[in-house]
């Protein structure tokens, strides 16, 4: 079974977690002042990266916390996990499992 490292609970089995979409997408501070294009971009447009991807996960069957993860979408390898609010770790390459 794939193990995911929760920043709070440590290594836990994959089925305790839920995927939460791409990370680091900030909502506009003033949506009314945002152009339609920028709002559409915020709502719908995602990177769909091949390789390293920063994404949100939730340890829903554990501590319940959201956290961010860097995952290689080709190998499904989790390169790093980090708490919400922390900066994306400086990695450029995923790893083969």
């Amino acid at each position: 079974m794939l193990l995911i490292t929760c920043p709070f609970c440590g290594q836990r089995p994959e089925i305790e977690f839920a995927y939460g979409g791409e990370a680091h997408i900030a909502r506009a501070a003033d949506p009314r002042a945002t152009s339609d294009e920028a709002w559409t971009e915020y709502l719908y447009v995602r990177g769909n990266a091949r390789g390293l991807h920063a994404e949100r996960w939730r340890h829903i069957r554990g501590c319940g916390r959201f956290f961010n993860a860097l995952r290689d979408t080709v190998t499904d390898h989790f390169v790093a996990t980090y708490k919400m609010g922390e900066a994306r770790p400086d990695r450029t390459e995923g790893k083969q499992p």
């Binding site: 609970c9 836990r12 089925i15 305790e16 069957r61 554990g62 501590c63 319940g64």
Partner: protein
């Protein structure tokens, strides 16, 4: 005190009444259950109020006679206590934390407890729980929310061969029946203490 006092007595259901189970599983005695949420800055005051250290590591249990507090996450604790003490717990927090930076929710009506006690307890749970239940990886005094087959549970190891399972009332008959089914693989030893 007035606004934190319980305004009604929660309805306690008896989801396992009359259901046959595995001889190693028993229904835990009725107890008070609270979900306690508070920010990191309030942990010290809450610990002092309850007489138990809440600052311990996540997924560990702080315990004294008649009260156990399971740290489920960075800001979430599950309080299990003697039924008679439930009002006292709310009152103690209210007294010790005048700024009210906490939330204490009575979940006694929501979930129920199952105690699984036997030499094969860890193996039986492993049939439905994905965690490593080896004594080194999941020692006595560790407790966490996890899953057991299709049900969400809180699992607490109270002794090397004894586990306390907290499960929502509507899932309790399912967990109970599944433990009975799994138990068929593990014969009950007559000579175990």
């Amino acid at each position: 005190m007035a606004d934190v006092a319980m305004t009604m007595t929660p309805v306690r259901r008896a989801p396992l009444d009359g259901l046959a189970g595995d001889p190693r599983a028993r229904w835990a005695v009725p107890m008070a259950r609270f979900s306690l949420r508070l920010p990191e800055a309030a942990i010290g005051a809450a610990s002092a109020s309850l007489g138990l250290d809440l600052a311990g590591p996540i997924n560990n249990v702080a315990e004294r006679e008649g009260c156990a507090i399971l740290r489920l996450g960075p800001d979430e604790w599950l309080v299990l206590a003697n039924d008679a003490d439930s009002a006292a717990i709310a009152a103690a927090l209210d007294r010790g934390m005048p700024d009210r930076r906490f939330s204490l929710v009575d979940i006694g009506h929501r979930q129920t407890g199952i105690v699984l006690d036997g030499a094969d307890a860890a193996d039986m749970l492993s049939a439905g729980c994905p965690l490593d239940l080896d004594l080194a990886a999941f020692p006595v005094g560790m407790a966490t929310r996890t899953i057991f087959a299709k049900a969400e549970i809180v699992l607490w190891r109270t002794a090397p061969t004894r586990f306390h399972i907290e499960v929502w009332g509507s899932f309790a008959p399912y967990v109970w029946a599944l433990l009975k089914e799994i138990g068929r693989e593990y014969p009950v030893m007559e000579n175990t203490p």
